[in-house]
């Protein structure tokens, strides 16, 4: 088993390594302009410089830990992460109760679903002009856009989750003497959890896309801001270093969410790992 995972990891590394080698060879041989496509080594060097603290360590100014994390990359990543988390929370906290209500009550669904269906296809990015008009610059418009991005996936999945609850569970619960409130809390909500969590996962993914876009318009830090800034100076190595960071952060968030999901859904079929 252990040997297989190692083998799989090794196998997965082959294609990226080959591509990196071709890329490096193309750059070293001078086939491509380094301004257009810098070499992997140049990107790696830039990435380290981006990660490292800008000032030399001075005990008079800050603690060592604070200094280690004072690099531009860390500041940007924290800035982006803050917006993702805040935006997601605002969106999800609004979407969850609304979705539960619309899933559980036919009347609520009939009243609200047409509006949802009209608003849902509008990409959050289309709200950029309005968001600046309404919220000015800085974090508020970014968080507004991100919350929009997270809102609809959570809403739609929550509605679907509540609606698909197998009637047999409701019948069993009523037979066991449960009232409507108990049924909602202890039967409908947990039965809908797999759907809700997949909505959460999609919502976080959307939030992560929107944060990069929103940082390109209204703020002056964050990973999205940084790669746009690097373009102004023609630092293509920094653009790629920034993109890699976005990829790694996205991967970290998604695997974290997957872990939480697997724990919450340990009772669920087909998730036994």
């Amino acid at each position: 088993m252990r040997r297989n995972t190692w083998l799989a990891a090794l196998q997965g590394a082959v294609v990226p390594l080959v591509l990196l080698a071709i890329w490096q060879a193309a750059s070293s041989s001078g086939l491509v302009n380094a301004k257009i496509l810098p070499s992997p080594v140049a990107v790696a060097v830039r990435w380290c410089a981006y990660l490292a603290p800008a000032e030399p360590f001075d005990p008079a100014n800050s603690s060592y830990i604070a200094w280690i994390f004072s690099g531009e990359l860390i500041t940007d990543a924290i800035g982006s992460l803050y917006r993702v988390v805040m935006g997601f929370l605002v969106g999800a906290v609004l979407a969850l109760p609304l979705g539960l209500a619309m899933g559980a009550s036919r009347a609520a669904f009939r009243w609200l679903n047409p509006l949802v269906e009209v608003l849902r296809p509008i990409p959050p990015i289309a709200y950029i002009p309005l968001s600046i008009l309404w919220f000015g610059l800085g974090n508020p418009p970014a968080i507004f856009l991100i919350s929009l991005g997270a809102f609809f996936p959570v809403l739609v999945n929550t509605i679907a989750g509540v609606r698909q609850v197998d009637g047999i569970y409701l019948r069993a619960a009523r037979n066991l003497g449960a009232g409507p409130l108990t049924i909602f809390r202890r039967v409908m909500l947990p039965a809908a959890t797999p759907y809700i969590l997949s909505g959460v996962r999609i919502g976080i993914g959307t939030a992560f896309i929107v944060v990069i876009v929103s940082e390109m318009i209204a703020v002056n830090n964050g990973l999205g801001f940084r790669i746009l800034e690097a373009r102004e100076y023609f630092w293509s190595d920094k653009i790629i270093a920034g993109m890699l960071t976005i990829g790694l952060l996205g991967l970290a968030i998604d695997s974290g969410v997957t872990r939480i999901n697997n724990h919450l859904l340990r009772w669920h079929r087909g998730l036994e790992h």
Partner: protein, 263 residues
């Protein structure tokens, strides 16, 4: 003393362009502590009747009383065991069994003790912390039975509870159920389409007709338990019942060929 009283019960369903009479003038008087099997081919309304006793659906006409009280809603005085188990998959075995006790508002210590006792009774002590997905069908049905016994209801309604199990598991659960019934003295209404199962279990077998569902025959089974499926009496009864049921099965199939039904 009668425990379940079914009085002139009709059940009609509207289907597009037609009306199906699922139950027609059903009259049954089930005594406290009696083990009754409702037997018939699919579409004979045996599950419809059970659902009406459980309070999941209301008769179109007539009345049902259980323990002297008219049935209005589903309730914990009539525990139901479903063919599909209907365990809550997000709860452990112990939590499933505990659900009815918590709804009732039983104190924590008392509930703990009761859950332990029930898990013991059904041979599930080792499985309290497992989730239903990790159990076999037979084990799941044991949990469902324990969950319903927790209610301490005088009446147990069982809707083809062993229909999805293999023959050996089925027999062992049948024996278990008879033991529990002998020990706790519940009134059991048990729906099945297995003639052998009905003879093995019941004090009384009620054969229903295919649409409209009426009582075709109401037979008392006097053989002592445990019943031997190889004995001449068992087989004589089996032959009689097979004839009755297959008449209804043929009506069902004729109706199907005529396109009158889709099930």
């Amino acid at each position: 003393m009668s425990d379940i009283l079914i009085n002139h019960v009709y059940k009609r369903f509207a289907v597009p362009g037609n009306e199906v009479v699922a139950l027609k003038d059903i009259n049954l008087d089930i005594a406290a502590g009696e083990f009754v099997c409702l037997l018939g081919p699919s579409g004979c309304g045996k599950s419809t009747l059970l659902n009406a006793i459980a309070g999941f659906s209301h008769p179109s006409e007539g009345s049902i009383t259980v323990g002297g009280r008219p049935v209005v809603n589903p309730g914990p005085d009539r525990g139901m065991v479903f063919q599909e188990y209907a365990l809550f998959p997000w709860m452990t075995v112990a939590k499933n069994v505990r659900f009815g006790l918590e709804v009732k508002g039983m104190a924590k210590d008392a509930a703990d003790a009761r859950v332990r006792e029930l898990l013991d009774m059904l041979g599930l002590s080792e499985f309290g912390e497992r989730f239903p997905k990790d159990l076999s069908g037979g084990m799941r049905q044991r949990v469902a039975i324990a969950r319903v016994l927790a209610l301490d209801s005088p009446v147990l309604l069982m809707d083809e509870p062993f229909g999805a199990l293999d023959a050996l598991t089925r027999r062992s659960l049948q024996d278990e159920l008879l033991k529990i019934w002998a020990r706790l003295g519940k009134t059991i209404v048990f729906v099945t389409h297995s003639i052998e199962e009905a003879i093995y279990l019941a004090d009384r077998i009620v054969v229903l007709t295919y649409r409209p569902g009426t009582v075709k025959r109401d037979i008392r089974v006097e053989m002592p338990r445990p019943r031997d499926a190889a004995s001449p009496e068992f087989n004589a009864l089996k032959r009689d019942l097979s004839r009755l049921v297959s008449e209804e099965q043929q009506r069902h199939e004729a109706a199907e060929r005529a396109g009158l039904t889709t099930d």
